[in-house]
């Protein structure tokens, strides 16, 4: 899903929506803007209740503008999402599903499919609903969701078995087990997320709203009581002027932009092809301080390829190749396939190997071995210590040369796989793995952000250490099982850390669910995609770094604009208070003592109040681009960030309105 530019239609739609959002039911969700609208309403009623007053008319107009500008900011943020949702909806056309029941095919409407149904898809078919391939292999066009036009291969077994409703099969035939009921599919969820229909306030947003509401209340109290204080002093202040003071004091800037910040934050993630299933997760991403990264695919290119077979003493080279071939025949992992390829290249006759009656022993994280059983013959390949344990249990032993060879491989960053037949060790397969370019710099950046990286790998400690050193991660977990991953996440969380991880396999699901931020790869299994709270459509594990940045940006934008908004009040006081009370204790032509506070030297009380109100409204518009884009984030550490933002938004917030109000005052008096 690539970025949608703001078009003219979107602006028009947003303007229309800003008026639609004047509905009190919508307004009340934002207390600050709701109070502004009530103020505008009161001023309008007063305006209409007596003879026409141009000053009050302008106040009323600008107060309504303030509300509309705030609505507009939200509408324009939503508009981007809506446009994206429209294009997604197009791929959710009604399709016909080929239901497979008791071996017979029947055509039914896709909406009638239920969880657990089996359907058949052949080239040209649109996959009717989310599911898991149980049979076959196909190339699938997922551009409707990912925007990526190159087809991807989906196949049964392994971690690339999930298919998404709405995508199209380009070749071959697959049988899919449907995993969701209608309306709950990935595409449906994505549409509602992108539209912002299911958007809920995030914890920080709630806390900030509370603070803003409280400030609004206390300023309301200050302004309401000011009427009494002024009466006592003998100065009549009109309601429209008091309303103006109130609206200028309450944090309308951040209040008006608050929801736009949240919506556009989610939107920025979507542009990065990440679907966050909850806003909470996006916010949590900003707090992440530990990143668990799978070595394969993230830190290294992941295609560990067989590059050398080292036979054990007294084993012929061909013998070793044959066994390695056999051990990998039912292994459809890239490593297994690379071993087959490597062996075939040398001895093409291996292609004709017939296994006869044999039983496939799959890889499990506990045994960390795989292979086949042919009668009494057990062929295995696996990690050094796993095989050592295995042969020892059968009465054999690991030759010292093999151990040395395996250790050498590990030390040089490769992965040794030991092959054995029953208790006899045949040799070591050298799997090579290459660290990605630029990954080291990425980790350095993360460290500056205060985030620790932990590399997770199934490799042995030696291999892991060598790759960890090369990639520059802070820590690593070697020979990690899913249980260990889960345990490590729990331990870190116990210590108060917030943990993020990426994963794609079914066995990653528990850890993905446990992590504070779990990013599932779109290529992953259905289980992983359900367990995570974000899905990366590009299936690029380094995306986590961008997710963290976006999370931080949202919080920073909120904090910066709040600071700006509150700092603005100082100048507004210096505009309005002298204007309110300039006549108090005035003697003859000389104005009263409080006009000494008119440090901006504004022309008249009316133009001073009007300038403050206009500035207050315009500043919302001026900051919409910033709210949509987010405050720039740089990985420079908390202190430097704070200094920068305090300088720009704190000090800037203090000074800008003095200049702005003065300029508007000059302009008003020119007209």
């Amino acid at each position: 899903m690539k970025q949608k530019m703001l078009t003219k239609e979107m602006y028009i739609q947003a303007i229309v929506d800003s008026f639609a959002k004047l509905n009190p039911k919508t307004l009340i969700k934002n207390p600050v803007i709701f109070i502004t609208a009530i103020g505008a309403l009161i001023t309008t009623v007063i305006l209409l209740s007596h003879s026409f007053n141009w000053f009050e008319c302008q106040i009323a107009l600008w107060l309504w503008f303030t509300v509309l500008f705030a609505n507009f900011s939200e509408a324009i943020a939503e508009g981007k999402g809506k446009a994206q949702a429209e294009s997604l909806k197009k791929s959710r056309t009604q399709s016909v599903a080929r239901l497979l029941k008791n071996g017979k095919e029947s055509k039914i409407n896709a909406t009638e499919l239920r969880k657990g149904d089996l359907v058949v898809c052949e080239s040209g078919d649109v996959i009717p609903a989310d599911g898991e391939i149980v049979e076959g292999l196909a190339s699938v066009d997922e551009s409707a969701i990912t925007g990526e036009s190159a087809p991807v291969v989906r196949e049964s077994g392994g971690d690339r078995s999930a298919v998404t409703g709405g995508t199209r099969v380009l070749s071959d035939r697959i049988v899919i087990k449907i995993s969701v009921d209608p309306g709950e599919g990935f595409l449906d969820r994505m549409i509602s997320l992108v539209e912002g229909a299911s958007r809920q306030k995030t914890p920080n947003e709630i806390a900030l709203s509370l603070l803003l509401s409280a400030l609004t209340l206390v300023f309301l109290a200050a302004v309401v009581t000011l009427k009494f204080f002024a009466d006592f002093a003998g100065e009549t202040v009109t309601i429209p002027v008091l309303v103006s003071l109130l609206i200028c004091l309450i944090p309308t800037t951040i209040g008006g932009l608050l929801s736009a910040i949240g919506i556009s934050g989610m939107d920025r993630l979507i542009q990065k092809n990440v679907i966050a299933l909850s806003g909470r997760a996006v916010e949590a991403a900003g707090d992440i301080d530990i990143l668990l990264l799978d070595k394969t695919g993230t830190i290294t290119h992941g295609n560990r390829m067989a590059s050398e077979f080292i036979p054990a003493p007294n084993i012929g080279e061909k013998e070793m190749y044959r066994l390695a071939y056999m051990a990998s025949m039912s292994d459809d992992t890239p490593e297994g396939k690379s071993i087959i390829e490597f062996a075939k290249n040398k001895y093409s006759e291996l292609q004709d190997t017939n296994l006869g009656e044999s039983e496939f022993v799959p890889f499990t994280a506990q045994t960390r071995m795989s292979g086949i059983n042919q009668g009494k013959v057990q062929v295995r390949k696996g990690a050094l210590d796993a095989i050592e344990k295995h042969v020892a249990s059968l009465g054999g032993h690991m030759p010292a040369e093999t151990i040395r060879a395996a250790e050498n491989i590990a030390r040089s960053g490769g992965t040794p796989l030991v092959v054995c037949e029953n208790e006899r060790v045949f040799g070591v397969i050298y799997l090579k793995d290459v660290v990605k370019n630029g990954i080291r710099e990425r980790f350095l950046e993360l460290r500056k952000m205060g985030i620790k990286t932990i590399m997770i790998t199934g490799d042995n400690p030696l291999t892991a250490a060598s790759i960890a050193a090369e990639a520059g991660v802070d820590d690593f977990m070697a020979q990690a099982t899913p249980e260990m991953k889960l345990k490590r996440i729990r331990e870190e969380q116990e210590k108060g850390h917030l943990v993020a991880m990426t994963g794609d396999g079914t066995n990653d699901a528990p850890a993905l669910a446990q992590a504070d931020v779990g990013v599932a790869m779109n290529t992953g299994t259905q289980a992983a995609r359900e367990a995570g709270n974000m899905i990366d459509l590009d299936s690029n594990p380094t995306k986590l770094i961008e997710i963290v940045e976006t999370g931080k940006q949202i919080l920073m934008t909120r904090g910066s604009l709040t600071t700006f908004s509150i700092a603005n009040d100082v100048a507004k006081y210096f505009a309005i208070i002298p204007a309110l009370f300039a006549g108090l204790y005035a003697s003859g032509a000389q104005s009263g003592p409080l006009s000494a506070l008119n440090v901006m030297n504004l022309q008249s009380p009316e133009s001073a109040i009007l300038s403050a109100v206009i500035f207050n409204a315009l500043v919302i518009v001026a900051l919409i681009p910033l709210a949509l884009r987010g405050v720039a984030y740089k990985a420079v550490g908390a202190k430097a960030l704070l200094q920068r933002n305090i300088f720009i938004y704190g000090l800037g917030g203090l000074i800008t309105p003095f200049i702005g109000i003065k300029l508007i005052d000059v302009l008003i008096n020119l007209i």
Binding site: A233, H497, L555, M556, S560, I566
Partner: protein, 559 residues
């Protein structure tokens, strides 16, 4: 200002800074039950109280239990004082034969002393018997200060606890506060003050013939002991109507210095106690610095305003013995510290200096503030600062490793803003109520300041008076009594709830991404938030009182 003025200011601040870490460490040890120099003498008394009262000192309370204990203890204290005052005519130690108090004055006074306010709608020597002074009022002087200190300990423990809801035992805390801190310091100060000539007796008033040949009645009583705790416990309720400008309360320059120092001594030291308890003394110094900066800023503005008037012209309402600088030092310290004792009439300060006194209180009494409550009030501001600034570094804000979330912000905001509502609406209500308005001495801005000051002083639990307001009327006694109650408990209860919530949270480990609170940037931010949030609410009100008056004064206008 001359060299002596600067020397006096320097001495007061220097000794305060010097004693802060020493006392801070001593308080930390005493309150944590560790042994100190004093333990040998005081520990048996501490244990004795547990034996007699049947308190199990090992038993800890959660925040609700703790709060219930505080409220029960305060209610009993209130009722005791209320009834003693209501029937003081029939009680012993009343050589001057003073009559019973009216119900509204008894109510106002009981609330006032229970809430550590010590607002006095009465003249001490002409209203209170020795019994009322020594048993009822002095008792609450100790208990209200100790209550504030205990509530503070709960909040500090909440930050220290890693997911544990147990926040200490109220009875132990209050006992230790009194036995190790308030009593010893009071005894020391009583002796020092008595050595300067502050009287200490139980005599009836003495009638003397003056040089002019007229008769004058001079009140007598246990003054030194009352004054010591009055100053140390941020109470401020004087024995005499003119408080510490009375020669029996404050006879010499040294007694003035001692009393001045005592105003801020305990609240200042508690910042470091907090630091030591958290095992991060630097965090304590940070709070101390922020408070000190605001204090010195206020002091500077006030001194500038006073000395504008020349050395002698601003002397009306000030004690000649102390002069302008000592009066301003006192007015700044006493309003910053939530004490409320005075050595000059605040109504007679220059408008701006009077306004600074109000502003010190309007900040919510967090510039050192009351014993205990100053620090917990400051911590509410800290949370607000951490929240706004913390967002700016792109993380969920945290303080001392604890995440600050919606509930915490809600409680902090209630605690900071509740007194504001009381002040604003209390004044607005008074201005349209003729029975209140008849108590004002002045019209115009100064009259406004009189009533505004009264509600500010009550809601902030300060207790100082602006003078000029005849407060001993049923309506004002009741209104101000309610203002004091809200000012005390609408802060304390949210603080306790906040503590309960914070205590249950995990302590997050630090990283370079963490927003640090132990540097000067944070002090700057904290001061900014206090000044902006505290002052913004009241700028319109202040502009109609002290500000307009000051500008008129500069312009040479009479309002």
């Amino acid at each position: 200002m001359n060299g002596y003025d600067f020397l006096q200011i320097f001495m007061a601040l220097f000794v305060l800074v010097l004693l802060t870490p020493i006392l801070g460490a001593f308080f930390h040890k005493s309150l944590s039950g560790k042994s100190t120099l004093l333990s040998k003498v005081a520990a048996p008394f501490e244990k004795l109280v547990y034996v007699v009262s049947g308190v199990d000192e090992k038993e800890e309370m959660d925040w609700k239990q703790y709060l219930k204990a505080i409220l029960a203890f305060n209610l009993v204290g209130f009722l005791f004082v209320f009834f003693v005052l209501l029937f003081q005519g029939s009680l012993p130690l009343n050589p001057a034969k003073l009559p019973d108090l009216s119900w509204h004055l008894a109510f106002n006074t009981a609330v006032s002393f229970m809430t550590n306010t010590n607002w006095q709608s009465y003249a001490g020597e002409a209203t209170m018997s020795h019994f009322s002074q020594m048993v009822a009022l002095a008792g609450q002087n100790f208990f209200s200060a100790a209550t504030g200190l205990s509530a503070m300990l709960v909040l500090v423990r909440a930050f220290k606890n890693n997911q544990s809801k147990k926040l200490g035992n109220f009875w132990v805390d209050i006992n230790r506060s009194i036995i190790y801190i308030l009593l010893p310091l009071s005894i020391l100060w009583s002796v020092l003050l008595a050595s300067q000539g502050v009287i200490q007796n139980l005599s009836a008033p003495v009638t003397v013939k003056t040089l002019e040949g007229k008769e004058q009645v001079i009140a007598q009583g246990p003054v030194a002991s009352q004054i010591a705790i009055k100053q140390l416990g941020t109470n401020g309720g004087g024995f005499f109507n003119t408080n510490s400008s009375h020669p029996y309360e404050n006879p010499t320059p040294l007694s003035n210095f001692l009393e001045l120092l005592a105003l801020l001594l305990i609240p200042a030291a508690l910042t470091l106690t907090f630091g030591y308890m958290m095992n991060k003394p630097k965090e304590g110094w940070i709070l101390f610095s922020a408070m000190m900066i605001v204090l010195v800023l206020g002091l500077t503005v006030s001194l500038w305003s006073e000395h504008q008037q020349g050395v002698y012209s601003a002397m009306e309402g000030k004690e000649v013995r102390f002069g302008v600088t000592n009066s301003i030092l006192w007015s700044t310290f006493t309003t910053a510290a939530s004490n409320g004792s005075v050595n000059a009439m605040h109504s007679s300060l220059t408008p701006l200096a009077g306004g600074m006194a109000m502003l010190n209180m309007l900040f919510g009494e967090v510039i050192f503030g009351g014993v205990g409550c100053g620090l917990y009030g400051m911590l509410l501001y800290v949370l607000l600062t951490v929240f706004i600034a913390g967002l700016m570094v792109g993380r969920t804000p945290e303080y001392l490793g604890k995440k600050i979330e919606a509930f915490d912000i809600k409680m902090a905001v209630i605690g900071i803003l509740a007194p504001s509502f009381v002040i604003l609406f209390g004044v607005a209500f008074s201005l349209i109520t003729p029975s209140v308005m008849s108590s004002l001495m002045h019209k115009g801005p100064h009259g406004f300041s009189e009533i505004f000051y009264a509600f500010t002083s009550a809601a902030a639990n300060n207790g100082s008076a602006f003078a000029g307001l005849s407060a001993n009327t049923p309506i004002l006694n009741t209104l101000l009594g309610v203002a004091m109650l809200i000012g005390r408990f609408a802060v304390m209860i949210p603080v306790m709830a906040l503590a309960g919530n914070i205590a249950g949270k995990k302590i997050m480990p630090e990283s370079v991404g963490t927003f640090r609170t132990d540097n000067f940037l944070f002090v700057f931010l904290l001061v900014g938030v206090i000044v902006i949030v505290g002052a913004l609410t009241f700028f319109p009100a202040l502009s109609l009182g002290p500000i307009i008056e000051q500008i008129a004064l500069i312009q040479g206008k009479v309002l």
